[in-house]
């Protein structure tokens, strides 16, 4: 289980995260939502160990998070790969660096789950569609069997139909692989449809952690109501009956 315990992170003189606490169990999905600058990406950097908390601790099963091989899926799929090399190179770079062995059977199974032809990995990023590139990004994240996958706006570069298809594939793979998923997103419709819990960040602090139903129907704080209403105004959520 991921445990973020009273974590504060400073960026220069300012405090980017203030006393943030939550937990995320294996196989579960937590969506982290909030306005730009709320601290969502800082949280991902802190979990990955790229930023050191000034206070508090972040652990997976009581040990440092890096030991559970956390993986990251980035927002902009094409720029997440080296444009001069075939996708296969980027997918297996981390596997080689960790001296892991990935058998053909696993690659086949993940490719099948993500609806990717294996030959596609021989192409360069510019030669695949943006939806395919994002699915290769997910393949790269999952190839080393991580216990925790962090998704930073994984669907925002995709069109509406591809977004939903990719989300469905992520959910199916999560069922099979059992990884915990922390998804940072602006898309409250996605959060409500796919997450087990939604954490709302505001100015570096957790405003509310609730179930999708509670968030959509009866958000507790005034700010969460503003977020929910914005999602309705943008057509991402339907008004409650």
């Amino acid at each position: 289980m991921l445990k973020v315990d009273h974590v504060s992170v400073k960026r220069g003189a300012s405090v980017a995260l203030k006393d943030v606490s939550f937990s995320l169990a294996a196989g579960k999905t937590l969506a982290v939502v909030g306005e730009s600058g709320a601290g969502k990406s800082t949280l991902i950097s802190a979990i990955l160990g790229l930023l050191k908390p000034a206070q508090g601790s972040i652990t997976w099963a009581g040990a440092p998070v890096r030991l559970c091989r956390p993986a990251l899926v980035m927002q902009e799929p094409r720029s997440a790969f080296n444009p001069t090399l075939p996708l296969r190179h980027s997918v297996f770079e981390a596997v080689k660096a960790r001296k892991l062995h990935v058998g053909d059977a696993r690659l086949d199974r993940l490719c099948k789950g993500l609806e990717l032809e294996r030959d596609l990995l021989d192409r360069r990023p510019a030669a695949v569609s943006i939806g395919q590139a994002q699915r290769v990004g997910i393949l790269r994240a999952l190839i080393a069997a991580p216990s925790l996958v962090l998704f930073d706006e994984p669907l925002s570069a995709l069109d509406a139909v591809t977004q939903k298809h990719t989300a469905k594939l992520i959910a199916q793979l999560q069922k099979e692989e059992g990884f915990a998923a922390l998804i940072v997103t602006h898309d409250l419709g996605y959060a409500v449809a796919h997450a087990d819990e939604i954490a709302v960040l505001k100015s570096g602090q957790i405003e509310e952690v609730s179930t999708p139903q509670d968030f959509a129907v009866a958000p507790k704080s005034a700010y969460c109501r503003v977020l929910r209403d914005a999602a309705i105004a943008l057509g991402a959520l339907e008004p409650a009956e």
């Binding site: 509406a160 602006h186 796919h194 959520l237």
Partner: protein
Amino acid sequence: MTLSAHGLSVVRAGQAILYPTSVCVSPRDRIGLVGASGSGKSTLGHALVDDLRMQGHVVAYVPQSPDEALDPLWSMAFHWREAEKALGLRPGAADRKTLFSALKIEGGDLRKRPWAWSRGMQQRFVIAMALMGRPNLVVLDEPTSALDPVVAAATMQLLDHCLRESDTAMILITHDLGLAARHVSQLMVMDGGRIVEQASTEDVLEHPKAPASKALSAHRNWLALPC
């Protein structure tokens, strides 16, 4: 005055990416140009803006990200003056105060460069520049996709309010049918470089005919789909 462009087509590297297409827009029209990535929405938007400008109409364009419209090296005041010059207006002729008030950017310091403003303020400033010449038509290409939901919803609401006060028509380019459903009355659905369906928003949402419209309609809302 109705604006019309006929036979717009675009070929890149010998491949047609926009087949001959005609578009008519009446004052106060609110049209959504929707379709999947690569369907030709932005290409048609650019071709339409170019053609109508060549006909002498005042047509404004708001890109997806304010980064595409604002030079990080120059102050916001410089951008405003440049836009006035481009429209042939004398300095200060555009009613900046009213536009800034309508779009809620009065507090922004024009002496500062774009990066000193928030993304939402930058995008609303770009919309204010687009509206300063009282255009016949404003084309907005995914205007809210770079914004967080609260800022995006506020921006669309302020834009609706601004346009209600004028005869300016709007074409909203988006892949998000949920967003289009809230803000436009007609939809043009694109697929493979062609407009495959054109009807009222309600008709496209409730009784889509073309396969592309059916796919968009079915995927317009996360909760409409089985997880």
